[in-house]
């Protein structure tokens, strides 16, 4: 103690002040450095450390993510997410689902609440500015569903002031409504379920929906609804979405999706696709198509 005191008395006040300042600055630099190092750490490392995926999914989009009659959260996307968990962590059960609606899915990933999302998100140019997408895990076309007794028999007939045209409030749906039925009155709902409820209660005369959802709802309607011939607009790709800037996680997810849709795990993907869509998925390689 004596030594310390004599040392301190020897160092002039100015020196002591500058010493303190240096220590504070050094500490700040250390903390900032740690922060930067932490920021550079991939979320993939965090996933492996916690041994669990946290994924944003929908529970109101049939048949990709919904609650079935027994109260189980299931669907193509839910089971595909489980396949991803199996690939990354070795078990399809090492996953936690965070339910989001259309408005909540992007904030969920951007805020870091989830690792990534799989919630019928279409790859879209405007979105790509702020989100990272993997390659598509499924193609999605858009079909139009109308009541069986509807006077609308063709997609071209949607463009009329007498038509009330329903959809979910997503960018792609809105663009299609404006492009293919500008004269129709458009109504946008939060979920597919609400849009089809509007069709059921005759609030709208036609609903556009992703092909999978449209097929499912038509099949479930016991003949009350039909699908108009042809598709509305071009082919879309539905992909996993995540916060941009994490190349390691993106590469991992993109590679795994590729392995399921076109590579070594194609058979599992094919079985899942058949189960939920009752059809064959696109072939693993275009030259292997029959």
């Amino acid at each position: 103690m004596e030594v310390c005191r004599s040392l301190l008395s020897w160092v002039r006040f100015e020196h002591r002040a500058s010493l303190c300042l240096s220590l504070v600055l050094g500490f700040v630099a250390l903390v900032a450095g740690l922060g930067a190092a932490q920021a550079e750490e991939s979320r993939l490392d965090a996933i492996l450390k916690r041994d669990k995926l946290i994924v944003a999914v929908s529970n109101s989009t049939m048949p990709t993510g919904f609650i079935d009659e027994s109260g189980t959260h299931t669907g193509f996307e839910i089971e595909f997410a489980r396949l991803l968990a199996k690939s990354i962590l070795g078990s399809p059960d090492k996953i936690e689902f965070v339910v989001v609606n259309a408005a909540g899915r992007f904030p969920a990933v951007l805020s870091g609440r989830v690792d990534f999302g799989i919630a019928s998100a279409t790859i879209y140019p405007d979105r790509a500015v702020r989100l990272a997408f993997t390659r598509p895990y499924m193609d999605s076309t858009t079909f139009v569903v109308v009541p069986k007794d509807s006077p609308i028999k063709k997609i071209e007939e949607l463009d009329s002031a007498d038509v009330v045209f329903g959809a979910t409030n997503t960018a792609a749906m809105i663009d299609r409504a404006k492009r293919y039925a500008p004269k129709a009155k458009a109504m946008y709902f939060d979920t597919d379920s609400a849009a089809f409820q509007a069709l059921k209660s005759r609030r709208v005369g036609a609903v556009q929906a992703d092909s999978a959802a449209a097929e499912f709802q038509v099949a479930r309607s016991n003949g009350a609804w039909v699908k108009l011939p042809g598709q509305l607009g071009s082919l879309n790709g539905n992909a996993l979405f995540m916060k941009p800037g994490d190349f390691q996680l993106w590469l991992c997810l993109d590679t795994i999706v590729g392995e399921y849709t076109h590579g070594s795990r194609y058979d599992e993907y094919q079985a899942l696709y058949r189960k939920w869509f009752g059809a064959e998925p696109p072939p693993a390689r275009f030259y292997s198509a029959k």
Binding site: F106, G166, I174, M187, Y188, A194, S201
Partner: protein, 216 residues
């Protein structure tokens, strides 16, 4: 935060804001009038009328406005009625907030001492005149701050109309958000606009409270 983006989305949000203002204004007026009907029923001489009013208040106050709006929008077509989505939004807000406004009026009326009514009656006033000239003016002054709070609740609840496709401020924000994937900017701007509207509402109420102070 992307400030240029904030400015780009402002016109779209302002279009939604117009609908929110219309929805809120109509619901406010409707609930203010509906509240008077509710309080009249609640203080009726007839037990049946009081019973019906109490049941109405209980149902409206204890069920979410989202459920009410869905019943109106998706349920009414089952009986052949197709009110517009905007009308369903206004009706749902009026129905629920009339119940609250009625109870607020009642609290105000009951806070005025009974001796005041008795004094008015002893001076030869008819009961109705005593109510309208003596009790109500005092009661309304007392409940102005609470009514102001309820007005802000109506403003915020108007966002629920977005679920039935009314393109008010929240729906306009949701559409922007889905296109741009820019939640922070969109939510920030939406919050700022709601805050500005609430400030105007509360400012108006404070002005009224200043103009009509409570006299003790």
């Amino acid at each position: 935060m992307d400030t240029a983006f904030l400015l780009r989305i402002l016109p779209v949000l302002l279009e939604g804001l117009e609908i929110t203002v219309a929805l809120t204004a109509l619901a406010l007026v409707g609930a203010a009038i509906g509240g008077l009907i509710v309080v009249a029923g609640r203080r009726s001489r007839f037990a049946a009328m009081r019973g019906v009013t109490i049941a109405y208040i209980d149902v409206m106050r204890n069920t979410p406005v989202l459920v009410q709006i869905f019943i109106l929008y998706f349920g009414l077509p089952e009986i052949g009625l197709f009110p517009e989505a905007f009308a369903c939004g206004v009706i749902a807000l009026v129905l629920q907030n009339s119940a609250y406004a009625g109870e607020i009026y009642r609290a105000g009326i009951e806070s005025v001492k009974r001796t005041q009514t008795e004094a008015a009656l002893s001076l030869g006033m008819m009961p109705r005149r005593a109510l309208f000239d003596i009790v109500l003016p005092q009661a309304l002054r007392r409940v102005l701050p609470v009514l102001g709070n309820q007005a802000v609740v109506i403003l915020k609840d108007s966002s629920i109309a977005s679920t039935i496709s009314v393109t008010e401020l929240t729906q306009a924000g949701k559409l922007l958000l889905d296109r741009s994937a820019a939640p922070y900017e969109t939510f920030f701007m939406m919050a700022a606009l709601y805050l500005a509207m609430a400030a105007v509402l509360l400012g108006g109420m404070k002005l009224l409270a200043w103009r009509f102070p409570v006299r003790t």
